[in-house]
């Protein structure tokens, strides 16, 4: 049984830009590495794309100290954008993606507007089809999230990127805001083609041990992800899709078929799966098969038909 019925196209009606996905299931940035790292666990034909680890202009070693803190229903991370840098990505990682025919979103992050412009230009020069702009990482001191929380600066940043990058432009938004609708509107009017949401929520993990009459405290502050953030993601995706016409990729606590349906009901056109890969590294393959089988059993010829029915349900 094939999964051809999962093929879908994300389209920005205004610019005419589109992204064809062989399935609407995408490996979320930071959980999928750069290319074939999951090959022992997943057949990549089930993935619409992978979103690469967030890439910066220069190589970054990330944060020092504990980086992971598990909580009920999720985890807090403070990796701090450790990555190989754009130059090494283009020379070492990109050829492997191409050789293996893996569709991908290049996820980029910067400290300054110039950083983002340079990265976008490199993406353009290398004919990279889709760019996901991270303006929402809570784990770095400078830049990134600073651009993502203010509609004016976000508009300005995306306009600059749009000038140099012609491919499918996705903006990954933060949930750490009072006004997601204004951010979404700014993204759309600046000419982006798609919004992915949400990035992690700010969180603090605290562990107290009591040993030999003494308390020991351990804290990890970072971004919260996993099934526990799904209601926040549903709320945000709902707000975003009611404010803009461009397609929305849902991210946040997705791990099972009903999660896909719930996000489709609030306007999602595709899905990114992140933290769930850690418990089940073949979760995307499993979801693709389940979704495809559900559609065949219930006479949905295309993913778009299913989406329409769920949305109107």
């Amino acid at each position: 049984m094939g999964i051809e019925n999962l093929k879908t196209t994300l389209k920005n009606e205004k610019t005419g830009n589109s992204l064809i996905l062989k399935t609407p299931l995408i490996g979320a940035s930071g959980t999928w590495g750069y290319n074939v790292e999951y090959q022992d666990y997943v057949d990549y034909k089930y993935l619409g794309a992978i979103s690469t680890k967030g890439i910066t202009l220069e190589e970054r070693l990330g944060n020092v100290g504990e980086r992971i803190f598990e909580v009920f229903g999720g985890l807090i991370n403070r990796i701090g954008l450790e990555n190989v840098g754009i130059e090494a990505f283009i020379s070492d990682k990109l050829p492997i993606l191409k050789e293996n025919n893996i569709d991908f979103l290049l996820n980029i992050a910067g400290n300054t507007i110039e950083d983002y412009e340079k990265l976008a230009l490199i993406a353009q020069t290398n004919n990279i089809k889709a760019l996901e702009v991270n303006v929402s990482c809570p784990n770095v001191k400078k830049g990134c999230l600073e651009f993502g929380l203010n509609p004016e600066s976000l508009y300005f940043l995306i306009s600059k990127i749009r000038k140099v990058y012609e491919g499918f432009l996705i903006i990954k938004l933060s949930p750490n805001t009072q006004d997601i609708k204004s951010l979404a509107t700014a993204v759309e009017s600046a000419g982006a083609d798609c919004i992915s949401a949400i990035n992690t929520l700010r969180g603090l993990g605290v562990k107290i041990d009591y040993i030999n009459n003494k308390f020991y405290k351990k804290t990890v502050q970072g971004g919260l992800s996993g099934t526990c953030i799904k209601p926040v993601a549903l709320y945000m995706v709902n707000q975003i899709s009611s404010a803009v016409k461009i397609p929305v990729m849902a991210i946040g606590g997705i791990s099972k078929l009903s999660d896909l349906f719930e996000f489709m009901a609030v306007g999602a056109s595709a899905f990114q799966i992140g933290t769930a890969n850690f418990s089940n590294p073949s979760v995307i393959e499993d979801l693709a098969i389940e979704l495809s089988e559900f559609m065949q059993k219930n006479n949905y010829k295309t993913f778009d038909d299913l989406k329409k029915d769920i949305k109107n349900g």
Binding site: Y38, Y41, G65, I68, E70, N100, S279
Partner: protein, 252 residues
């Protein structure tokens, strides 16, 4: 080059195994033997088990491995620490276990006399290594340390109870005259062993433990810093490790 489209069942790394044996081996530690299709492992490698209600899998060093026709028996030892290990403890013979394996790099085995050091549950990979060294007729001596008599896990040549095993390493280097040292223990002991064996210029393999998220090297959650050829870089404990060479680790 990389051609993952040729991926076949032999390469599969996710297994559903069946518990063959589960028993208490000390006041707070258990032994679990899992029957599965896992085909081969190296000493020092680990498996990562999915535990009920947990987002993250839990890593366990392989304490023994035996082939049985097309299948195999993988032994792990675990100490009760929290919900995940309590869940494992609650499992019964015949229950299934979802695990990823084999993970990590494992120990290099030189054909030289070896001193093996374990502290607490860190004895697990040392028992497997000892068995392998014995099989290859490589002389070895295993010294381990436990907090109390009740916590002792059997199988060592010398067992230190109370205090720290670190206080006995100089003595055993003198007595045993090893050329290679292997150690699996909490960070404070690993660091201590690293310092001592560096002084004696002994090749040392240290097996580390760290909270892991992906178990396959992509998330960068469990990285440590190593210095190699005067260059500092991040290495993941789950994929590049868990075994690292003494003298290369930059202890936090």
């Amino acid at each position: 080059m990389l051609s993952f489209f040729l991926r076949n069942l032999d390469m599969k790394k996710e297994f559903i195994g069946k518990i063959e044996q589960i028993e208490k081996i000390s006041s707070d530690a258990f032994k679990m033997v899992i029957l599965s299709d896992l085909q081969s492992v190296k000493c020092g490698q680990f498996i990562s088990i999915l535990c009920e209600n947990k987002t993250l899998r839990r890593p366990f060093s392989i304490a023994d491995f035996e082939k049985e026709a097309n299948q195999s028996l993988t032994t792990i030892l675990f100490k009760i620490k929290g919900q995940a290990t309590n869940y494992l403890k609650s499992l019964k013979i015949g229950d299934s276990v979802d695990f990823l394996a084999p993970l990590g790099n494992g120990f290099e085995i030189d054909n030289k006399k070896a001193l093996l050091i374990g502290a607490g549950i860190g004895i697990a990979p040392m028992l497997f290594l000892k068995k392998e060294l014995n099989k290859r007729n490589i002389e070895n001596y295993l010294i381990t340390g436990f907090k109390s008599r009740q916590e002792v896990i059997k199988g060592s040549d010398r067992t230190i109870i109370g205090g720290t095993v670190l206080d006995y390493i100089e003595e055993e280097i003198k007595n045993q005259k090893p050329q290679t040292v292997y150690c699996c223990a909490p960070t404070v002991v690993l660091k201590g062993v690293d310092n001592i064996t560096r002084k004696h210029n002994l090749k040392t393999y240290l097996a580390l433990e760290k909270v892991m998220a992906c178990s396959i090297g992509v998330c960068r959650g469990c990285v440590i810093k190593l210095i190699k050829d005067k260059k500092i870089a991040n290495y993941s404990v789950c994929k590049d490790g868990p075994v690292f060479l003494g003298g290369e680790i930059i202890w936090e």
